[in-house]
Symmetry: C2
Subunit: 215 residues, 2 copies
Amino acid sequence: MPMPPPTDDTPRRRSDGEQTHAAILDAAMRLASIEGLSSLTIGRLARELGVSKSGVFAHFRSKQRLQQETIAAAGEVFEREVFVPASAAPAGLARLEALCEAYLSYVERGVFPGGCFFAHLLAEFDAPDGPIHDEVDATQRGWLALLEEHIAIAQHAGDLRSEVDRAQLAFELYAPLELANYLATLYRDPSLTDRGRAAVRATLAAASPTERAWR
Amino acid sequence: MPMPPPTDDTPRRRSDGEQTHAAILDAAMRLASIEGLSSLTIGRLARELGVSKSGVFAHFRSKQRLQQETIAAAGEVFEREVFVPASAAPAGLARLEALCEAYLSYVERGVFPGGCFFAHLLAEFDAPDGPIHDEVDATQRGWLALLEEHIAIAQHAGDLRSEVDRAQLAFELYAPLELANYLATLYRDPSLTDRGRAAVRATLAAASPTERAWR
DNA sequence: GATTAGTTCGCACGACCGTGCGAGATCCGG
DNA sequence: CCGGATCTCGCACGGTCGTGCGAACTAATC
């Protein structure tokens, strides 16, 4: 009995496959952000979507493709939820603050139910395994490079002291964002992001040219 | 052909089981720190140790017990590698610095090949699943509480300003430790821990009563 | 030397994994 | 109305998982 006619009245529409494809990736992102990309399972996805395993498998022709497409899809979500909002701010210090705030807001709003998708990947593929490791590596370097870029602009604009080490400051801004993400998810308490906000504020204040570098 | 007599000349010694038990936990910690506790597999452990699956399984009578004993064993390693060295410093600011330094050193020395075992758990069980989540939760709260405790002592001793929010400062100290761990493992570059050291130093300087709060 | 406790073995079970294949169901262009 | 595309299906495969069981072997005790 292959395909017990869709039962619901709406007949199969043009390009039903694209819809399914997107729905699968949606569920995959949700699952992977909670339990990790490697415990993403075709059978489980199928069950969750009320679809046969073959129905899922046919859309990606290997598990690896499924994983890669899931990462790509999550990348688009991240771009939409973090990069785009932050881009409203002018390049430099304002953009730097906007990036941090956009990240914390994205954690706070629970865009992914298991916390930041990429933070999860960072922890999961921290050991040098397979091709996904390189992708994660590049993602992290890109994020840090973006922060550094705006630090540099802020320095040239005189909004940050020019002696501060850019890579070090990027690290110090990123650190509280990550920890806020992990603890907010672990404790199920989005208010943890306020700790992140305070930390970012303090770090930027310490790097500001006006020496009001205390909380 | 069960048990092809141990082949090597050394005959089975008293309490061979305890040795095996410990060897299994050793391999389990190694594996779990790299690939996560949930991809810890009895079959894989057995293969890695050149032993039958039953030979592994018999020592723990369920997978859950294996996982719990692995966490406990890693806790002992952490205690030996971080808590004990730090305890040499007097309580308060010195202990606080010693704890951060001990953690970074433990990351740097690669005590676990996949980076800090507990940081991995923090990321892996950030979603509320099962009994292990509670254990991870408690571990993290304990670590933060320990930092807070020595912050309080340092404040009473006048080594840190008494107005600073203890929980916030603990968060700001923990954040660079975690990120240093993740990036050092991801980039295979232990020198990342120096970023963590600099961040800790800056954060403590900003909280110090003498206002030399710049890098 | 027989007994006993302890350790590891082979083997089997059901469940789930990723992957393939052929077959129906539906839709679209002719 | 017909023929190809497109989806999704059921089914089957080999592999690995966690878990049990009985048996073989060793070392220590009587």
